[in-house]
């Protein structure tokens, strides 16, 4: 078995353990919630007690990978805003590129990308100030890719090798993602977490004349399905909701 296969199997094993671990936590918390509900009063509309939060995050995985591989690089940032009912609006962006330097194929690419979407937390809050979460989410992604002219050689044992050139090109890539992950608050406002991503490329055929080795934000440009993950460190800026602040003030006056 090759080293690559070993690595893949180990990666799958770790991912499976994490999913099972996460699922256990979610089910345990759900069970607690059900037990509490049996003694609760009739359902009323849930009041949003948590404040606003805007979190800015930086991805740590890709800078590490950049130092380990020479043929591609990428940097990613994330911005999320808590709306209500455990729903977060997400904007992510970054840049990257790739350099192909094989004996029969040479070119380079650079690209910027943006992703927009949302995360939905699966964990019930212990208290309004509890910002830890496991989540699922959706993203729509867009990348603007610029590819240099490519030089190539067709190796033919009968007729001999023939060199050629493919003209440079600028093109766009569009994809959608399903995400899952978790985020925990280490100290007040400072978070760490990971996001696993499954991606589907919509317009791969439009750059089939030379699909880029790597599109930052998506993955391998010659694959219509890609998987990726990020580890984020984020900082959250918080402020109170107006209705929550008013209620608190009225309660204090009454006292």
């Amino acid at each position: 078995m090759s080293i690559q296969s070993n690595c893949r199997y180990l990666f799958i094993l770790i991912f499976s353990v994490l999913l099972i671990s996460g699922a256990n936590d979610v089910f345990a918390q759900a069970a607690d919630t059900v037990a509490t509900d049996t003694t609760a009063a009739p359902k009323t509309k849930k009041k949003e007690l948590a404040g606003h939060q805007l979190a800015i995050g930086i991805d740590l995985v890709h800078p590490v990978l950049n130092s380990l591989v020479s043929d591609r690089f990428g940097y990613e940032f994330a911005l999320d805003y808590y709306t209500h009912n455990d729903l977060y609006l997400i904007a992510e962006g970054g840049w990257g590129g790739s350099t192909v330097d094989y004996s029969d194929l040479k070119y380079s690419t650079t690209n910027n990308f943006l992703r927009f979407g949302f995360n939905r937390s699966l964990l019930t809050r212990d208290r309004p100030t509890d910002w830890d979460m496991m989540f699922i989410g959706f993203r729509a992604g867009f990348a603007d890719v610029s590819r240099s002219p490519a030089t190539f050689t067709v190796l033919d044992s009968v007729w001999g090798s023939r060199p050629g050139i493919a003209a440079g090109k600028t093109f766009q890539a569009y994809w959608a993602e399903l995400n899952a992950g978790m985020r925990v608050e280490f100290v007040r406002g400072l978070f760490g977490g990971w996001t696993a991503r499954g991606k589907i490329l919509f317009n791969g055929k439009s750059f089939n004349d030379l699909a880029p080795l790597y599109i930052a934000g998506y993955g391998k440009g010659d694959k219509n399905v890609a998987f990726d993950f990020n580890v984020y460190v984020s900082y959250g800026i918080r402020w109170k909701r107006k209705n929550v602040a008013d209620t608190t003030a009225v309660a204090q006056k009454t006292d």
Binding site: Q4, I14, V64, V184, D209
Partner: protein
């Protein structure tokens, strides 16, 4: 969920990211890199027959003309299906062909075509596919040659040319 319990999967997953580095080598090329020009030989069952059948030639020989390596071509014992290639250097190329390597004259097949630059994948690189325009042949052992599919790609299952051997062979 305890704090330690929360941190555990986070830390573990962060370390697993390092394993992605294991997959960064060039993927192996799993598709043919040279376009396959697939040829089938046929003959009339009798002089007066109109029925054609596959002809397994005893020791057919294909020799590319103007090839880089000037060694002799390939001998195909007891075959009726052959795979040859077209030159990526020009819009015309020639192959010499005989039905039997022992004491039979060679025919020359001349192919005219258009070349189309084709990206296969980052693992395989580029190649050329071809669109056949016409085929000309001498007629020592060959009665005629017909193009059945003008598109020459790396699909090994599509036949592009039928060579009809003289009935008296």
């Amino acid at each position: 969920m305890t704090r330690a319990g929360k941190y555990f999967p986070f830390i573990l997953f962060a370390f697993s990211g390092l394993w992605l580095a294991c997959t960064q080598t060039r993927d192996p090329c799993l598709t043919p890199k040279i376009a396959s020009f697939n040829v089938e030989t046929m003959h009339l069952l009798t002089d007066t027959s109109t029925v054609f059948a596959d002809t397994a030639l005893p020791a057919a020989v294909f020799i590319p003309l103007a090839r880089v390596d000037s060694n002799a071509g390939t001998i195909f014992p007891q075959q009726s299906d052959f795979t040859i290639s077209l030159s990526p250097d020009s819009n015309v190329c020639r192959w010499q062909f005989t039905t039997d390597s022992f004491a039979f004259a060679f025919d020359t097949l001349t192919f005219y075509y258009q070349r189309n630059q084709q990206f296969i994948s980052n693992a395989c690189g580029f190649t050329y596919f071809y669109t056949l325009d016409s085929v000309h042949t001498t007629k020592h052992n060959i009665d005629s040659a017909h193009i059945t599919n003008t598109s020459v790609t790396n699909n090994v299952n599509t036949k592009q040319l039928q060579i009809f051997i003289h009935p008296d062979f």
